[in-house]
């Protein structure tokens, strides 16, 4: 059973545009929501993360928006650049007991020059 649903599967954005990737979760016990960025042939790396006590977190051009009541969160990439072309994974974690990250299926982003 997939607990974190991510969309779209792929995304093409022009340079300078805004890239938006959405995730929805079902388990209300999740309390930590990271985004990972993966370049081809490499392992994913943590990009940005948020906890449900805030509705937004911004780091440079990357922003997470979080809607606790809707159980949704999204990644916004402002002024998208060709170097942002990568696969992005959202994830969720229950921070209690024995818990591991639950990942979405990933979004392949291509930023065209």
């Amino acid at each position: 059973q997939q607990q974190v649903k991510q969309s779209p599967q792929s995304l093409i954005v022009q340079k300078g545009g805004i890239s938006i990737i959405n995730c929805a979760y079902e388990n209300t016990a999740f309390d930590y929501f990271p985004w990972y960025q993966q370049f081809p042939g490499k392992g994913p790396a943590l990009l940005i993360a948020i906890r449900p006590d805030v509705s937004e977190k911004k780091e440079g051009r990357f922003t997470i928006s979080f809607n606790k009541s809707a159980k949704q969160f999204s990644l916004h990439i402002m002024d998208s650049q060709p170097g942002d072309s990568a696969t992005y994974f959202c994830a969720a974690l229950m921070n209690s007991g024995y818990s591991t990250l639950t990942f979405g299926k990933g979004t392949m982003l291509l930023v065209s020059p």
Partner: protein, 116 residues
């Protein structure tokens, strides 16, 4: 600083052959260790995780096994590979503290396994 080493980077194996992928972590002690598999369109699938030497938890029953012979060494094995074992295998670690609860995963560079 902590580093994670995973090898080989690519591997082509015939069906029915054995497999051994190795992962080591440096610069930290008692890490939680993980093996993930990434198949096209299926995201990151957690295969095994370990909170300590000899402690292995399996997430998905399959043709693979894992072992942790040393604190910072994690090995993924198979006795007989299947075509369906092809994929991109990733090792990862996080801070330990005795449970797999973690907030930040550090991934290795992965092994692309092709079973022919």
């Amino acid at each position: 600083s902590q580093t994670i080493h995973q090898w080989p980077a690519t591997l082509v194996q015939p069906v029915g052959s054995p497999l051994s992928l190795e992962c080591t972590v440096e610069g930290t002690s008692n890490p939680n260790l993980y093996w993930y598999r990434q198949a096209a369109g299926r995201g990151l699938q957690l295969l095994f995780y370990s909170v300590g030497i000899g402690q292995i938890s399996s997430e998905v029953p399959q043709n693979l096994s894992a072992s942790r012979p040393q604190d910072r060494q994690f090995i993924l094995s198979s006795k007989k590979l299947l075509l369906s074992d092809s994929g991109f295998y990733l090792c990862a670690w996080s801070t330990g503290q005795g449970t797999p609860t973690n907030e930040k995963l550090f991934f290795g560079s992965g092994t692309q396994l092709s079973v022919l």
